[in-house]
């Protein structure tokens, strides 16, 4: 969103039309050819998008969340459209880590892109087992831990809402998968997400990715029932962008980890705003549903914007948001 205001202080000259913009970014130990990564659960296992884009044109993609055994997920309805967003309660359906390694990974060979495996479990042991299994797997470049999963040993409360639990799970996974960059994906359903990020760092995480979906609900007035068979689901899409942006800003200032930001990104401007707020890279989720070419469109848009604005290295944008004097620390209230 842009507001009629005085233009930026040092407005730079545009780059020459053919000048190359360096789109590559480093996120902790992770190197990406550009900052745009397709988000878990919205990009299948990658090959589904081959009709619409070259995987090599993306910075990378994250697989659907993987568990030890295959999971069939929840009964329908699993999704529901809301105002500028959608709810989902898929129930973490996936082929399981073995089938992923045996059937999905080979199909990705030759596609020059970064493959990030999204990992979850219902118990700490399952997290560890899945991570250990992936640690060896050729073609997996990083792990992303989904901490929004309900902890069956703690009465279904999500792992990610308790800093001590975060520290424990991340630490255990870190030891189980020492060779891979470790991304910890934070849940936004928490009072202070920066505290969760610090717990992840203490557990040994290399990178924080945020945000996962917000807990939400939809009701069918005609039947007087919840729309989702699971009653509640996760909200994603443009509706949550302002919330995600505030959390990225906060974690950037007080979380102490490099950030992969996401939440409602649907165009290059959104992605660039997340970078100004402190993201080193971004993920694109729901947008893949209403525009299967969203990822590449955003990469191209970022490059065009950088050229226009005279930005020669996109990585230089991270955290360069200009704050009003005396507005250093992110306020916690409106």
């Amino acid at each position: 969103m842009s507001v009629a205001r005085r233009p930026a202080g040092g407005a730079r000259a545009a780059l020459p039309a053919r000048a190359k913009v360096d789109l590559s970014v480093r996120v902790g130990p992770l190197r990406l050819k550009n900052p745009v990564v397709a988000a878990s659960g919205t990009f299948g296992y990658g090959t589904e998008f081959l009709p619409y884009l070259k995987l090599a044109d993306l910075g990378g993609f994250v697989t659907k969340g993987l568990s030890m055994r295959p999971r069939r997920g929840n009964a329908p309805y699993r999704t529901c459209e809301t105002a500028a967003g959608m709810l989902n309660a898929i129930g973490l359906a996936n082929v399981g880590v073995e089938a992923f390694i045996a059937e999905k990974l080979p199909a990705l060979r030759g596609h020059d892109t970064v493959v990030i495996a999204n990992v979850f479990g219902e118990t700490l042991d399952e997290y560890v087992a899945v991570a250990r299994r992936l640690n060896g797997a050729a073609g997996v470049h990083a792990l992303e831990l989904n901490l929004s999963c309900p902890n069956t040993e703690k009465g279904g409360l999500a792992f990610g809402v308790s800093p001590p639990v975060i520290r424990e799970v991340v630490g255990a996974v870190r030891r189980a998968a020492p060779d891979l960059p470790l991304i910890v994906k934070l849940t936004p359903n928490i009072t202070d997400i920066a505290e969760a990020a610090r717990a992840a760092r203490e557990g040994g995480a290399d990178i924080a990715s945020l945000v996962n979906t917000f807990l939400g609900m939809a009701i069918d007035l005609r039947t007087r029932r919840p729309v989702l068979d699971n009653v509640v689901g996760g909200l994603s899409g443009p509706a949550i962008k302002p919330l995600a942006l505030a959390m990225v800003h906060r974690v950037h200032r007080e979380g102490g980890l490099p950030i992969i930001g996401m939440g409602g990104i649907s165009g290059p401007e959104d992605a660039l705003e997340f970078m100004l707020a402190g993201s080193s890279a971004v993920q694109v989720g729901t947008a893949n549903f209403y525009d299967p070419t969203a990822g590449v469109r955003i990469v191209e848009g970022i490059e065009a914007w950088c050229r226009k604005e005279g930005v020669s290295r996109v990585a230089d944008l991270t955290g360069t948001l200009r704050l009003p004097p005396g507005r250093g620390a992110a306020s916690t209230s409106a």
Binding site: R72, G73, A75, P76, R78, I90, F289, P292
Partner: protein, 263 residues
């Protein structure tokens, strides 16, 4: 392979207060589409509604450059869509889904439509006639006004039987009443192609399974992506030892054998 393209609206005709016929210029889709497949259609710019809407390819026009979509206004997306003028461009992704299978040898194709479910059949009817198979149409709707597209089938001499819930046209009652003759001993062996609201699919499917008639159901489900990645559109299929099996209506369907799904 499906493609995503901006499709200009060539024609947008209001058939009656609730039903519209949309003609899109979409060569890359028209060339490869098969009966029973669908597209994911943008209804208007911006984030409201956020998601595209699944719409059957009602017809591929001669020359295979244009497709027709027949739709009913039921909510926000279709209401906004109905306001799109000719000339406007709508992102259109397709063709998607498995489509119908040809009838088994020696079986007479019988198209069973409920309400706007009729939208999926013009394409199939033309295709069957090209193969010299003589489709029949059984069309059930709430009231006479909902019987849209009949002219199309009449002009092609497709035998038509009609049922309305309020009795304002044809047999009084549900479309299932029109199926009874097919279940009688000695009736001509049929292959049912069924599209309509879920309760109707449930009823027709049950009847067909019971009578041992081949029956292909074209299912509906809310579809965020249409390409098999969100896992949101699943339908419950016959369970195994580990419990229910879920299949994606968008990529493993929308056409399923009546015996395979639990509606």
């Amino acid at each position: 392979m499906p493609v995503d393209l901006p499709a200009p609206i060539v024609r947008h005709e209001r058939l009656n207060p609730e039903h519209f016929l949309l003609t899109l210029e979409a060569p890359a889709i028209a060339r490869v589409a098969k009966p029973g497949q669908f597209v994911m259609l943008q209804t208007r710019d911006g984030f409201d509604p956020l998601l595209r809407r699944p719409m059957s390819v009602a017809r591929v026009l001669p020359g295979r450059r244009r497709i027709e979509i027949l739709y009913k206004v039921v909510g926000r997306g279709t209401r906004y869509l109905s306001a799109q003028p000719a000339g406007a461009c709508l992102r259109t992704l397709g063709p998607l889904g498995n489509g119908f299978r040809p009838p088994a040898k020696g079986r007479r194709p019988v198209l069973v439509a409920g309400g706007v479910g009729i939208a999926i059949f013009p394409f199939l009817a033309d295709d069957l006639r090209r193969r010299r198979l003589r489709p029949r149409l059984l069309f059930g709707a709430r009231r006479k006004a909902d019987l849209v597209g009949l002219e199309f089938f009449r002009s092609r001499r497709v035998p038509i039987a009609v049922a309305t819930e309020d009795g304002s046209a044809g047999t009084h009652g549900f479309v299932t009443r029109l199926l009874e003759p097919l279940t009688r001993p000695g009736a001509e062996p049929a292959e049912l192609y069924v599209c309509g609201p879920t309760p109707m699919l449930r009823a027709v499917g049950a009847l067909a399974v019971q009578a041992g008639i081949h029956c292909q159901l074209a299912l509906e489900s809310p579809m965020p992506c249409g390409i098999g990645v969100c896992l949101g559109c699943v339908v419950a299929c016959t369970p195994d030892a580990q419990g229910p099996i879920y299949r994606r209506v968008c990529t493993e369907g929308p056409v399923f054998d009546a015996g395979a799904v639990v509606l």
